[in-house]
Every structure is written in C-alpha cells, then in structure tokens.
C-alpha cells in the first residue's frame, strides 16, 4: 500500500532525536558557531546515548553505521536502518548541522567502514570515531584524480602513504581517518583504495584547521601524510586492482551516504521554515493551504513555495533510503535526493533570512546561521553539479567520456 508517512515503528526514534536536537544541539548552536575550533564537550555524553540507541537494536541503527543495512530476510516491504538513520539525521540537523557533523563516532569514515569493512576490521575498529579523507588540493569532485600514493612495503607488511589531504571533517578529533590513496597513479580509479589510519600515527601531520562560512562547530582539518605507515590489514576492501569493481566499491559508500546528506539539508530547511512561519505569524502573515496562492500575501505565497520544495526534498530523501532498505539500486535516486535537497535547503534558508528582514539577518536569531550552514550541503558528498552529471549520465546512458 502506497504511503509516504513516517513508519510507525520509527516514531519513537524520531521523537527522541527531536528532543535531543532541541535540548542539546539547538541549545548549543550559537555557542559553537561563535567559538570555532572549540570542542563541543556537551556531545560526549550524547554520543554515548546514541551508541546505546544503536546497540538497543529497536531502531535498526540510527547512527552513521546504519548504512550497512540489515538482512533480516523478511518478505515484502522493509523500513530498515537506512530509513531510521535518515529520519534521525533529519531531526538532529533540525537542531544543528555542525554539531551533528562532529558527533563522536558518527563520522563519514564510520559509514565507509560500515559499508565496506570485513568482519575482522569491523570488530577491530568498533567504538572508534572515524573521519574520511578524500579531497586533495588538486582533486575535489574528481576523486579519481587523487595523487596520494600507497606503496606496499613487502618486508614489514605495511602500506606507506604519501600525499596531502584537505577538508577532513572532524579530522583532528577522530580516532581514525579513512584515507583514499592510489596503489598506482597510472591505473586510474581502479587503483584507488581506502586505508584506515590511526590519528596518532606519526606520519599523519595536521597542517591546519579551516576557518569556514558555516558549520563552525564541525572542525575541518588539513593533513600531510609523510611516509605514513599503516598495516596492510587496514586496507578496506580488496587489495587487487580490478578495473571493473574497485572504484565502484569505493563509490558504493556514496549511494548510502548521499541520502544522509540530503537528510541534513531537509533538517536545516525545516528549521528555517518553522522559525520563519513563527516570525511571519507575529507579523500577521499566515499561510492558508486552501486559498489560492495568488489571493494571499506575497510572503505567504513565498513560504508556500519554499515549503513545497522542502516537501519534495524530504520525500526524495525518504525514497532513496527506502530503496536502499529494499535492496533496490538507488544510485540515481540518491542523487535526485542530494541534488534537490542541497539546492533547496540553501535557497530556502537564504529566502527565509530575507523574508524575516533584519531579524533574519541578525545573530539574535539562528536563521542567518542556518543559511550559512546550509550551503555546505550543496557542496560536500558531491556538489550539485556532480549530482547532475551522475543523474544525466544514467538517464541518457552516457559514459563519463561522452558527458564530461
């Protein structure tokens, strides 16, 4: 039966996440926006709570590891860990995107490990906080062009990593960093592998922390890898250079994490719309859903327009998660969700600031902060333009050589 409502069994999870977002994330939003690079210690207790929620099992795993999915073998429709995770993320980002991004043990690296690690690795890295290091100064969206090298030292059984990594979310706070490096720069994307590097590895040197437009609660680290030695057991996936499969394996993480970033965008967009609705109501403007938009005030009509984009972003995100839970290939729909949610959140938050005038622009409200935070969601995990490329290539059946 077609229904696009929040699954009944996740309502408790959503309510809990909302409370946390309200009482802990929202309560500390402005504090860590102003105190960039300060570790939000309030999150330590919260992270323990989330660990407990994940281990409890009833939610199906609402954290970063939820993307691994579960095989409970049930017949018929499934609402599983992908759906639970994305619902949790939406609520948390209604609270604060930056704080969610720096939630201990909920890093993108944790999602990568959950997606592709073998059982031994899963066990070994359990309970650790893992960041993700892909981007390089000369390789952003073009992750196949990364130049960080990994050379196997047969004598010691270690890979030796050399290169430079930038934009590593929570890189200085995490226990582990999942580093993408190439086994052979001449062999293109197939040779790119991910390696788990301990943060205290002496070959991993912090270069600096970025000063950013938004999500300031979340630190963004730049690293230099200098003869950084990691045991070969820390390579995620197969060490073989298989031109057919390898890169696809690495990219598989993105099919599962793109809906999460879309969920972040949905959360912050909802925050902006809700607050704007309150402020407009104080100014005497309320949306009537039955009266035609052209018969309402321009502000009401605009809010309706923004809410429509929000609704579409939400439903595309839930659709992508639902497809993942039901083992339907969702690469195309994950990109639909990411593209729509990323651009809509930015547009919604910016227009909410404008609708609320000086109040929206000032720091007494969080609207201006949300507008700064939202912009990153249309950039990381694949920019708007990259999503459009992915979508267009799939729809039109074109290769990356044909549609550049």
């Amino acid at each position: 039966m077609i229904s696009l409502e929040t699954p009944k069994k996740f309502q408790v999870l959503v309510d809990q996440a909302h409370q946390v977002a309200q009482e802990i994330l929202r309560a500390n939003s402005r504090k860590y926006d102003l105190a960039e690079h300060t570790y939000p210690k309030e999150l330590d207790m919260l992270a323990a709570l989330i660990d407990g929620m994940n281990d409890g099992g009833s939610t199906g795993g609402a954290g970063a590891a939820g993307v691994r999915g579960s095989d409970d073998g049930d017949e018929g429709n499934k609402n599983g860990s992908n759906m639970a995770t994305v619902l949790g993320v939406i609520e948390m980002c209604w609270g604060d995107v930056g704080l969610l991004l720096t939630m201990p043990r909920q890093g993108l690296g944790n999602s990568a490990i959950a997606s592709v690690a073998n059982d031994e690795q899963l066990k070994r890295f359990e309970g650790k906080w893992a960041a993700m290091a892909i981007t390089e100064p000369e390789a952003g969206s073009d992750s196949a062009a990364i130049r960080t090298t990994a050379v196997l030292d047969e004598e010691t059984g270690e890979y030796v990593l050399n290169g430079e990594k930038i934009f590593v979310t929570s890189g200085d706070r995490a226990d582990l960093i999942v580093v993408w490096a190439t086994l052979d720069p001449s062999k293109g994307r197939a040779a790119i592998k991910s390696f788990v590097v301990e943060r205290d590895n002496p070959g991993l040197k912090l270069d600096r922390l970025e000063h950013k437009l938004g999500i300031k609660a979340s630190d963004t680290a730049n690293f230099v890898l200098q003869d950084c030695r990691v045991p070969k057991e820390n390579l995620l996936g197969s060490p073989e250079i298989d031109t057919k499969k390898s890169f696809a394996g690495a990219m598989k993480t993105f099919d599962n994490t793109r809906p999460l970033v879309a969920g972040m965008a949905v959360g912050v967009a909802r925050a902006a719309i809700e607050r704007t609705r309150e402020l407009l109501a104080e100014a005497g403007v309320e949306v009537d859903y039955d009266v035609p938009a052209h018969k309402q005030s321009a502000a009401a009509a605009e809010l309706l327009e923004l809410e429509a984009d929000y609704e579409a972003a939400l439903l595309l995100t839930l659709q992508a998660a639902w497809m993942a839970d039901n083992k339907k290939p969702n690469s195309l729909h994950a990109s639909y969700a990411k593209a729509k949610a990323g651009r809509s959140a930015t547009d919604i938050c910016l227009r909410c600031v404008a609708l609320c005038g000086a109040v929206g622009y000032g720091e007494d409200e969080l609207l201006e902060k949300w507008a700064r935070d939202a912009k990153i969601l249309d950039i990381f995990e694949g920019t708007q333009q990259i999503q459009l490329l992915i979508i267009a290539r799939q729809l039109l059946g074109l290769t990356s050589a044909e549609l550049k």
């Binding site: 039966m1 077609i2 229904s3 696009l4 409502e5 929040t6 699954p7 009944k8 069994k9 429709n77 609402n79 759906m83 859903y289 039955d290 009266v291 035609p292 938009a293 052209h294 018969k295 309706l304 327009e305 809410e307 429509a308 984009d309 609704e311 579409a312 972003a313 439903l315 595309l316 839930l318 659709q319 639902w322 729909h333 639909y336 593209a339 729509k340 333009q385 999503q387 459009l388 490329l389 979508i391 267009a392 290539r393 729809l395 039109l396 059946g397 074109l398 044909e402 549609l403 550049k404």
Partner: protein, 430 residues
C-alpha cells in the same frame, strides 16, 4: 486497497486488451493478484438500473491506516496502471494531435475508456462499481497514466469519473440511486464538475455563481468556465454560493436555463472545454450535495487540485521521456547534443522535479486514503505541479529548439497542456 475481482474480471474481459496486444500481461497480473489472496467472487454481474431505491447512501470503504513507508502499488493498482498505461500509449498518444485540433475526444476512445472502468472509479460496489475501496491513489495512478498519453483526452475521460466520485463521496441515497448507478453502466453520462469562473484572481471559495432558495428548490445563476465536454454533457455538478457559502449542486443539462458556448483555450483542447451560463436554472431541493456542508466542498476543491497534479505528472513524464530520446539522437557540432552539460543538466533537472511532483502529490493522495488531513500536502503538490510542471513543459520545447515549436513534435502541445494544471479547479476529483 483491493480493487476486487470485478475490476480484474472487467479488465481481463476487454476486447481492447487484444487489440493493443496486452492480453498476456493482464492474465499474468490476474494470476498474481489472485494468488496473493483474493476474496471469493461475489456478485460479479453489473447492474444498470438508473433509478434504484437505496436503503441508504453507499460508500466505498475508507480509512485504512498504513504503518510503513512504501512506494509499491498494490497488485491491483499495478494492473490498472499498466492496462491504462498501455491504452494511453497505444491509443491516446496517436490520436492526440487530431483531437487537439478538433477540440473534441473521439467517441470510440471514450467508449474504450468506459470499458476500462474509468468512469466508475468512485462508484461503490453496491451500485455496480468495480472498486470496493475508496482510493484517491488508484485514481491518481490512472489519471497520471492517461495523461502520459494525452492530457486533453485524459480530462475528457476523467471528467465523468470526477462527478461519479463526488456522488460516491457526498451523494445521499436518493441522489446516488438516481445518478450514480449510471456511471457503472455501459453508457455512463458525459458529465463534469464545474467550479471555475472566468475572471482573474478566481478563488473557488468566493464564487460569483449563486444559488438562492426558491420554494422547495433552488435557482442558480452564474457562469462556469472551461467545463470539459460541455457540449455533450448530460449532467453537471456546479459550484455555487448558497447564503454566501460555496456548495455543490447537481444540475441536469435539460433542467432549462443553461446556455453553452465553446471556450477553446491554450491547451487541453481535446477535452472540448466550454463555458456554461446558468440563467435562472431551477432545480429541486434534492439536488444540493452533502446538505451544503462546507467541509465537503473544501474536500472537493482539494481532490480536484490533486487530479490536476496527477495529469501534470503524467504529461511531464511524457515530456521528459520524449526529450531524453531526442537529445541523444539530435546531433550538432559533430556529436549528440546530450553530450553538452547545458542540455544534459536540463534533462537531469526535468527528471528531479518530475519525481518531486510525483512523490509530493502521491503523499497527498495516500493521506486522503488513510483519512489523514491532506490540505497542506495538496497545496504543496499543486505548487510544484504549477511551477515545476510548467518548467518541464517549457524545457521540453526548449530542448527541441525550433523543431519543438512546431507541430511536428508533441512537446508544443504538452507545453500548452501543462499550463492548465496550476489554474484549473474542480473537474478531476480523484
């Protein structure tokens, strides 16, 4: 959400299946639907009596709550969608250009739509309908598929269904006994539910068409605009203000005092749109629907908007599919134009917004079926159908350039049709 064996039987028995070569698929669907647990066949035969004495108003069953997020149609919905989809592709699409020019839907196609069960979507089983459960979602999927063939023809076919659904939802025993059975018959009446009036800033909750009490009955005055099949319609449901509150009245074409004139418009021309002028139309007391309940009128407006969302999704899908193929074939500067980001990204955006429109409207439909409030969801879906639907229509012409501007390709018609979705009211009550 079982359509029931009547619908399966009806579809499986259609000659049209053989003509369009989908017999095997229909049988496969029938098999799988039956396998998955169907109720035993009860009263398969249909009744055709126009004047029945009912012991009370009949309703399709409603309000089943879902516990899961699920985008999978039921087997029955899937079967209906495929049957109607094939019909739309095989029959409506090829006829669309001529029907657009003629401002009329071919009688043969309207008959085939009747065979498919479209006019009886909202008719309860006791009155010969095939669909046991009230389902705006099923109607949505049907409307979407029809409009994927052609929006104008879809509107011509769905207009009687809209009246049937309104009578199914709000008609009393007397009204249903008089009219509703006809919609499940072999010759359902040409009918339309008319709310729209010809003026800028129209608001369906502030009607200029009026009804005033006159003895035992009412007298209606006013003008209704862009009424599908106005020329041959036998039955109307007319929105008119009664004591300042909008209400729905059943009006027969031969009630007297109704003047008709053709009102061809930018698009949906195959629906044969016309303008009705009601001058002192006298109707008996039992023609007021739902006792003038404002909640029923409000729901009628919402369900009508949902219907226009459904046809916008169908036509936007047709446009997107057509453009995808064209840009891969058309070459310029030595390669297919799809190899250029300016073109490819436009196609990507068409697909994203199409899916946005579909999901948002489907949520509204499924909430209606579950007995949840859906005013907000309909408003948001309409907003997207208006804005994104039109953008898709415009991009459709743009991607074909000068060729898209000519009648050599259907995109110019879809451009004209898609403009209707944001301004029409009533008619397509799902």
């Amino acid at each position: 959400m079982a359509i029931g064996l009547r619908a399966l039987n009806r579809v499986a028995g259609l000659e049209v299946l053989d003509r369009i070569g989908m017999r095997n698929r229909a049988e496969r669907l029938l098999y799988s639907a039956t396998k998955n647990g169907f109720r035993a066949a009860d009263a398969v035969g249909r009744r055709f009596n126009g004047k029945q004495k009912l012991d009370g108003a009949k309703r399709q069953s409603t309000g089943k709550r879902a516990t899961q997020f699920d985008l999978t149609p039921t087997d029955e919905q899937q079967m209906m969608r495929e049957a109607v989809g094939d019909f739309a592709q095989e029959k409506l699409r090829p006829a669309a250009g001529d029907a657009d020019a003629a401002c009329a839907a071919p009688a043969e196609l309207l008959e085939q739509a009747t065979e498919l069960g479209i006019p009886m979507l909202g008719v309860p089983g006791e009155l010969g309908g095939a669909f046991e459960e009230r389902s705006a979602t099923t109607s949505f999927l049907v409307a979407e598929q029809l409009a994927r063939g052609d929006m104008g023809l879809a509107v011509a076919m769905l207009a009687p269904a809209g009246v049937g659904t309104a009578l199914g939802l709000w008609g009393d025993a007397d009204q249903q006994g008089t009219y509703l059975g006809e919609f499940a018959g072999e010759k359902p009446p040409a009918a339309a539910l008319a709310l729209l009036e010809p003026r800028a800033m129209f608001d369906p909750f502030e009607l200029q068409t009026t009804a005033r009490k006159d003895g035992d009955g009412y007298v209606l005055e006013g003008v209704k605009s862009l009424v599908p099949r106005a020329a041959d319609a036998e039955l109307f449901i007319i929105g008119a203000a009664l004591d300042g509150n909008p209400a729905l009245f059943i009006v027969e074409a031969n009630d007297g005092g109704i003047a008709y004139e053709a009102e061809p418009a930018m698009g949906i021309r195959a629906a044969g749109t016309g303008r009705l002028t009601l001058s002192g139309v006298k109707v008996p007391a039992n023609r007021l629907l739902a006792d003038g309940d404002p909640a029923a009128y409000r729901e009628c407006v919402r369900l009508g908007r949902l219907g226009w969302c459904a046809v916008a999704v169908g036509t936007a899908q047709a446009t997107t599919d057509y453009v995808k193929e064209y840009v891969n074939q058309r070459t310029a500067f030595g390669e297919p134009i799809s190899h250029r980001q300016a073109v490819a990204f436009t196609v990507a955006n068409m697909a994203i917004e199409l899916e946005s429109m579909r999901l948002t409207a489907l949520r509204a439909a499924s909430r209606a079926d579950q007995g949840l409030d859906y005013a907000r969801e309909v408003a948001l879906a309409r907003r997207l159908a208006t804005q994104k639907g039109m953008q898709i229509g415009s991009d459709g012409v743009q991607m074909l350039g000068g060729h898209g501007y000519t009648k050599e390709h259907p995109v110019e018609r879809w451009y004209r049709d898609l403009r209707a979705a944001g301004l029409m009211e009533g008619v397509l009550v799902l």
